[in-house]
Symmetry: C2
Subunit: 488 residues, 2 copies
């Protein structure tokens, strides 16, 4: 809308990633910052929200195919509930927004605006689970949560309120809970790889960086073009800690009472931040056709004597695409020239452009331009609704390949502290190194270059530790391979 159209992107993705990202978000009409007095909050504009709806729809479909039901729990949690699981209260207390008054009255007990909902969902799981026949029990909610972090706002990456889904499940056995944890991690991986054109790495967070109260926190990590890792979806095997704190028990087949095993898992609009950051460029937003609000923009190019035939041809193509379910926009504005339109739709991230001039009409063809790389080609007018799907696949493949190259080039090995520091300092990206499992060894790296252990790979043979391997930092016995990186 008007106030964003004044200028194209002026910052450089390569040299000034932070400012460039903020500019893309603003000028492509994705978000505005919150009002005065509410720093850290953003307004999610329709263009971004439409992308979020596609992420929701895709993931919600996967959930429903695999036994998850949606529900909705209160947005407030009584302080006494939050305190019932001690790790949760320690983990989130510093970031909680507190409701203390309602109308003109002070509340007897203050209420936390949910930072995450384990503490309010677990008591209901406890009521709903009675017998082994009630298990597994899986509920999910799409909601917003509030975490009052003091750090600088970065739309979709770091905001005090954010949109996400949080799933909560109860199971009869530890093994079932672990399977559930990995099923959801797989689905998060699919969101990134099959919908957002971003390859990810899978792993477990180190002990000291787990979700409060969890046995294991698993994560998918995406590498951004500036060499930092984004934690993009986490799935927690909670063991029995919440079941014990909130009395989630069931009667097994022998009529014995058993404690349940629970999981929780969440994917937030960080995924949208990673999407914008990964593919966009100095011309503005780049989106894969899978999630783009408009997949194709048709730009007619006419002189006064060709206007009628060009427009008619362009309208016919637009209608045919619409009927085939393609999200298409015909930009037939009189008051703007084609160059202006090209720039504007590039800024807004439309992945495929159709250019239609008198020559295209005469030859019964369409000039197709791919947003990501400007590749241009002529295709037949006939069967355009089929052709365009192929173009979408090509664009998707290009975006994925570029992100994959970036990832593959930026996983390096190191076997000493100096090597870790030097490699991350020089290249960014991931550095994998044998590690003793001790938080202190990570602390040394963190203090020097603000890199941390983002994960320990799951089921990765390459990452296996062998007898005699020693920790790259302290030289003690190595127990696992850690991936170090700077993070968002």
């Amino acid at each position: 809308m008007s106030d964003d159209q004044e200028l194209g992107i002026t910052e450089s993705k390569e040299y000034n990633t932070g400012e460039w990202y903020a500019e893309v978000v603003q000028k492509a009409g994705l978000a505005n910052y919150g009002p005065e007095g509410m720093s850290g909050f953003i307004v999610t504009r329709p263009r971004a929200y439409a992308v979020w709806e596609r992420i929701q729809s895709y993931l919600d479909g996967l959930f429903k195919e695999t036994g998850v039901q949606n529900a909705y729990f209160p947005m407030f949690i009584p302080e006494s509930y939050l305190e019932r699981e001690k790790d949760i209260v320690e983990g989130f207390d510093p970031e909680v927004a507190w409701v203390t008054h309602a109308g003109r009255d002070e509340l007897e007990e203050r209420l936390a605006v949910r930072p995450t909902s384990e503490s309010i969902i677990a008591p209901y799981l406890s009521r709903w689970v009675r017998s082994h026949r009630d298990l597994p029990l899986r509920v999910n909610q799409w909601a917003s949560v509030v975490r009052w972090e003091a750090t600088e706002t970065k739309p979709f990456f770091r905001t005090k309120e954010f949109l996400w889904q949080e799933g909560h499940t109860a199971h009869a056995t530890d093994e079932d809970a672990w399977d559930e944890t990995l099923t959801r991690l797989d689905q998060y991986q699919s969101v990134f790889e099959d919908l957002l054109a971003i390859p990810v790495l899978r792993g477990a967070k180190p002990e000291h960086d787990k979700f409060p109260g969890a046995d294991t926190t698993t994560t998918v990590e995406a590498l951004m073009p500036d060499g930092k890792s984004v934690q993009s979806g986490t799935s927690h095997h909670l063991g029995t800690s919440f079941a014990e704190a909130f009395d989630i028990t069931y009667t097994d087949e022998d009529e014995e009472s058993q404690i349940a095993h629970t999981t929780s898992w969440g994917l937030s609009w960080r995924s949208m931040g990673a999407l914008i950051m990964t593919h966009s460029d100095d011309q503005g937003l780049v989106l894969p056709p899978t999630v783009a609000p408009e997949q194709v923009v048709v730009v007619p190019i006419w002189q006064s004597d060709t206007k009628e035939k060009v427009l008619e041809y362009a309208e016919g193509i637009t209608e045919e695409l619409e009927e085939a379910g393609v999200r298409v926009e015909l930009d037939d504005r009189d008051e703007r020239n084609p160059g202006f339109k090209f720039n504007e739709w590039e800024l807004k991230g439309v992945p495929v452009r159709f250019e239609i001039g008198p020559n295209e009409v005469d030859d019964d063809v369409i000039t197709v331009v791919h947003r990501p790389d400007g590749e241009s080609k002529e295709v037949d007018r006939e069967n355009v609704a089929e052709t365009v799907r192929e173009e979408f696949d090509e664009v998707y493949a290009k975006l994925y390949a570029k992100a994959e190259d970036n990832l593959e080039e930026n996983v390096r090995e190191a076997d000493s502290r100096a090597d870790i520091l030097g490699t991350i300092g020089q290249h960014g990206g991931y550095v994998k190194a044998p590690w003793c499992g001790d938080e202190e060894c990570e602390t040394e790296i963190k203090e020097q270059i603000a890199a941390e252990i983002v994960m320990v790979p799951l089921d990765d043979e390459e990452a296996e530790i062998h007898e005699g391997d020693s920790c790259a930092i302290c030289d003690g016995d190595a127990v696992e391979t850690a991936y170090f990186a700077k993070t968002y």
Copy 2:
């Protein structure tokens, strides 16, 4: 789940509507009450949430067909923003939940948990609207809001937090804003009449009962079986009051600055309360097939020697329905007898039951039972996926007709105070009467029998006032026809 299955419904809809409703909500697994310390809040269980998702999906589809885009705004509103439109602050202040602390710090300015979002959306409309080309601008958000009402909790009808959508639009002219107001009212009417099988009345709220700051508040009202009216969706023509308070202006075609005209409109999960209340009965929940989580339950009835063939036949039918996109559940539990299953699925509101015994298998037929009235018939096994759609239409028509009869029988006329009081006292329902437009005349009725003016009809010739008509209460000049009713 387990704790709801102990008993069927024990209360009577006719004699004890309130308790009956609460029991249906609990035992059909729709909602639980909030935790201790959070009275007034509810937990929306999957069965109810699935209905809400269908309402959302239907209405969101209508919105998107008519130029509405979804967006998301912060859940908090700074107090100073809330105060900028004086009617809003007066209207909502007594019901606002206030966030005063974040982490360990007290906030400089306290934040309202949104009771409605005009005050946070209007400043952004102001930024986004520059030129007449930006109008109309329409955004909607699906969200929860908090209003700290002290009255008794009634799930979906009256809760301190509720789910809804709120649309906010800006227009060039007053006429455009009024058209928008009515477009959304039409869509709310469609939700009730075309999706929920509930006929509604349309009208405007009296002056003294408008949305704070609105020029006109329009409403669709549904009559519940106990004779009370439910305000089921409201659409507000806000005139220029918000545009003036938040500076929403645009440049017209002559480059002159003009003030915009705005609207807002909301439909909440009250629609789901009205749905449950209208159709359900002393056996439990009744839902139309349009929104039922399961549209058909298939119950096989076997002896040990017929089990194999009955089950195979039932499975074949289930698969065929699933492939045709019907939401079907095969209840092949061994540990429950058919009678138990019938009761359970009746309680849960499945609109169509297929009973399959050995006779059905031998005759290649299905016994179909309609939930609302127990009507039972045999249909051919062949083409079952088509037949079942006809059954759905029949069930829908039955539910609608019953609700329509109730509405038509319960709109009465009155021309004196005694008549209004007596008629509502005896029958409930709506009483239409000529009215002078003065709030005091309503107050008299309200004080005596807690009935109020729920609306003044829009575009209803029957409700036209003629010269010389006098107010049923004060005998002054009548200016409009008012509908009095008790309300939820």
